[in-house]
Symmetry: C2
């Protein structure tokens, strides 16, 4: 988890981060959040009492009105009222979004989607999350669930998704899916440098850095799997352009941060091939995140500031 | 084409309709539009000079700012400036949307989506079109192209779509696709009453009335094909709920009008099975259009009134 103290212009005045201790349950994790906010304020040279508002991005489904995390599978949280808890501790209003909603909010306020009236964020990590800006504002949806684009189905007969259904975009192209496909290729007898890289670097999971190294080593298995993932993400992006006609699609998450334009270029091609309305001038931009790791925290700070303005 | 003169409350004061003579080209069709508007005014007992504004829904891609039909395949129109032509003739402002954008606008102003902050329309006809209401307003997108949900890809290996790509929702479940699948089943040797119904009723195309009669006659081919189409439309609706989290999805078009809730119920089931965020209380409604044939004309009139308000 990462906390920043930011100015109205998105300047980071202080920050702090730490590994989330999910084993400690909601109480423990909320304690960690309080600690990180306090440390970020200290880093900014101010007392936490001086904070004007707090924004939070949670890895899962939220109810923004209640300040409740409805369900966060990776934390194993169900119906946790984190907003009121933080609000009580710090004595300021707390805004809550999901982690990708706040990331695209950050990119819209300060990054790659700045100035766009309509933008879509596609964040590729353990899963695939999304966020939508319409008419200059984060679109949260009826229940606060807008932007779950990782669960747009690209093929009902596709691979199983962690959500229990088949063929969601996430099941094709998340980092978890890339790992599954690389491991399956190796198991089927194809040669790959990936196991060696993971061993050398003492990695249990196929992190973005492992993916980057395998590609740099011209590993054909990784190249094939990444090409398929890029194709699927492009298909998803094309679907979103046909549905929403945004000015810009921002791609983010660990792999995008590591690989940048090399990762994005084939996605752009795949997406453009699905545009119903031709875009000969390339007026619809498909670009990597500008804020990287800080997108979520900066977007959460923007939402918080906006709520008390 | 249909013209209505409507009150602020969506009451139809006068109307007129006729078959579009596409062979006469843009000039001829614009002449027909002028005639129908004039006849609808006459039917309302007023002079066309008394109209306050004109709204138009065009069957294709539009540029609302220019009042231009960018591309309407069924009319074979490219870059036709219909808005300025009508505006010059009648001396009032003209608002332009595509036919399904105005239909969902009509349902939102006066029909099945009334009062909803967020709604999506799925219109099933020759093709599949859509329209999106966000924060109480028709969402047109960056280029006026928002809502082309018929071209969300449900399976890249799926059937060919009139747009030239594969596996769009339209390629699975439009009336044209239903006709294609029924004919293919018959050609492969399955027995069906459809050819007989079409012959008796002197129909060259598999209209909604033919579909309705075949289902009433318990025709297994038609039942199978419709079930597949319903499943695909449900998949599309589920994708849209995951992306946009609307309060209501309105289904419209000829088949929906004919079959109503019988057609919608299996779509609802299929859609709900794809919701990432569970909706145990059924707070997200999936319902047939209330305005039927008049949805588009009423929505266009609403847009027109809104533009001059």
């Amino acid at each position: 988890m990462m906390a920043v103290v930011a100015s109205a212009k998105g300047k980071i005045l202080g920050e702090s981060d730490t590994a989330t201790r999910r084993d400690e349950g909601p109480d423990g994790v909320i304690g960690q959040i309080i600690e990180q906010i306090t440390l970020a304020a200290k880093d900014a040279g101010i007392s936490a009492k001086k904070l004007g508002a707090i924004g939070l991005g949670a890895p899962g489904a939220v109810d923004p009105r209640k300040g409740m995390v409805v369900r966060a599978p990776n934390l194993d949280w169900t119906n946790v009222l984190v907003g009121p808890r933080l609000s009580k501790h710090f004595g300021v209003p707390v805004s809550l979004g999901n982690d990708v909603q706040v990331a695209i909010q950050g990119e819209h306020a300060y990054g790659a989607a700045k100035g766009a009236e309509r933008a879509v964020g596609i964040w590729i990590g353990t899963g695939i999350g999304g966020g939508i800006i319409i008419r200059g504002e984060l679109e949260r949806g009826f229940r606060g669930a807008a932007g779950e684009i990782g669960h747009i189905c690209l093929d009902e007969a596709g691979p199983e998704c962690p959500c229990g259904r088949r063929g969601c975009a996430e099941a094709f192209a998340s980092r978890t899916s890339i790992e599954r496909d690389v491991m399956a290729a190796i198991k089927s007898g194809r040669k790959s440098v990936v196991p060696q890289i993971m061993k050398e670097r003492n990695k249990l999971r196929m992190t973005s850095s492992v993916i980057q190294r395998a590609l740099a080593a011209d590993d054909q298995v990784m190249k094939d799997v990444i090409a398929r993932a890029q194709h699927s993400i492009g298909l998803l992006a094309g679907n979103l352009v046909n549905a929403l006609d945004p000015e810009v699609i921002v791609l983010g998450g660990g792999i995008v941060e590591r690989l940048g334009e090399d990762f994005v270029a084939p996605i752009r091609e795949s997406a453009r091939s699905r545009f119903l309305r031709p875009d000969p001038d390339g007026s619809i931009r498909i670009v990597p995140s500008l804020l990287g790791d800080h997108a979520g925290a900066l977007g959460a700070s923007f939402l918080a500031r906006n709520a008390v303005r």
